[in-house]
Symmetry: C2
Subunit: 236 residues, 2 copies
């Protein structure tokens, strides 16, 4: 683990710690949004879906606030090396968290439609399963962020491949449904958007893992293969 401390200013340490806590707080809300959205889909719970849709403002407010704190820290403390990387990783992480919140809101909207419709439960099973896997990945990526654990981050980033495969298989299944029963098209298209939203959340959770690697290793891994990063990490 990287040493983030050793500052002359004790207050600076506290500010950095405060920012990390804020990110975890924002991550917790976003995670809750996602699990509520999936639960609303599963239980056809319109009231819960509405809560998801209407509480995105909390995530937005936190993003603006943390962003502002980061800017102030850079201006006031002029951090260098790993501290600066932390602040920049935070700025990037909260952007992804905010967008995950947007996707959860989208899923919440779909859940509101499903709650009204009389659709086949069978169709939705795959999406719920995908949702659980994505939620798991988001949780783990935030965990890797909290611990600044590079190996865990690499491991979690790998989960994105499985999510992509499962997503592709759901799409094929949904297309078959549509072809078999064209009247189901509008509803199945809605499900496709939900599946897509989940797949995108997986991408963003992977981004968060990559920021952890960047933060600890000082290496930008966004456009390198995970295998390469893994090899490099083992060598060190």
């Amino acid at each position: 683990m990287d040493k983030l401390g050793d500052h002359i200013s004790h207050q600076f340490d506290e500010e950095l710690e405060e920012i990390r806590n804020r990110v975890m707080q924002m991550g917790g809300i976003v995670e809750q949004q996602l699990s509520d959205a999936i639960k609303a889909l599963t239980d056809r719970d319109e009231a819960l879906a509405e809560i998801v849709v209407t509480s995105d403002y909390k995530v937005n407010a936190l993003e603006v606030q943390i962003d502002e704190e980061c800017t102030q820290i850079i201006a006031k403390r002029q951090p260098a090396a790993s501290d600066l990387r932390l602040v920049i990783a935070v700025i990037k992480t909260i952007t992804d968290l905010e967008r995950i919140g947007d996707e959860a809101e989208r899923i919440g909207r779909m859940a509101m439609h499903f709650a009204e419709a009389k659709s086949d439960n069978k169709m939705i099973t795959g999406i719920i399963h995908l949702g659980e896997r994505v939620h798991h990945m988001l949780h783990d990526s935030l965990d890797a962020f909290a611990r600044m654990d590079v190996e865990r981050a690499i491991e979690v980033a790998h989960q994105d491949l499985k999510i992509d495969k499962q997503y592709e298989s759901i799409l094929r299944e949904l297309m078959t449904y549509m072809m078999e029963d064209p009247r189901s098209i509008p509803e199945v298209v809605n499900m496709m958007w939900s599946a897509r939203a989940l797949e995108r959340i997986g991408d963003r959770a992977r981004n968060i893992c990559e920021y952890v690697i960047y933060l600890v290793k000082g290496k930008d891994v966004r456009h390198i293969s995970l295998e390469q990063v893994e090899r490099d990490t083992r060598k060190e």
Copy 2:
């Protein structure tokens, strides 16, 4: 327009200018990617589509490079106020540009499918029209960035509403096609993804406009309505 100059260090000015030029260079490549992707769709040009799909690495490389330069500038120059805002706006802008490149790549992939398929030209007309509008908006948002023109940025951000409306209407049209001819479903679903990719590019172009406003006004406008920003800008 904001005064970005007045530095003791002439070299610092040059570095900031260099970063802005880099962003414009990256923006130019992304714009080209998008217009090539749309052209490949229009002309069913498989070779051009392939160029779009295989040249995303240029955009990725530029993102990593500019990001690195920004981090170094912060560490070395410890910029304050408007200079710091510029650097942070650049970090955010290039993230959006890179994702626009990803979406253009996706459209390129769809264009490769269309080039092979014998699909109805009628279906694709709406998407091409949307593509042109989105390309226009991206161009204008980069223009607002280059000039640091807040009023233009507000105006351009407004275009996103029209894009969203056009996108919704294309979706309705595509769903009707699918219901009328279920055999067309796999291909129409591909078109839906293209339309979605274009809509997302519109969102990201809007983000760029918002960074311009943030940069010049020092106000975070991401979660405020454009009308509010417009009123505030007029008041000043």
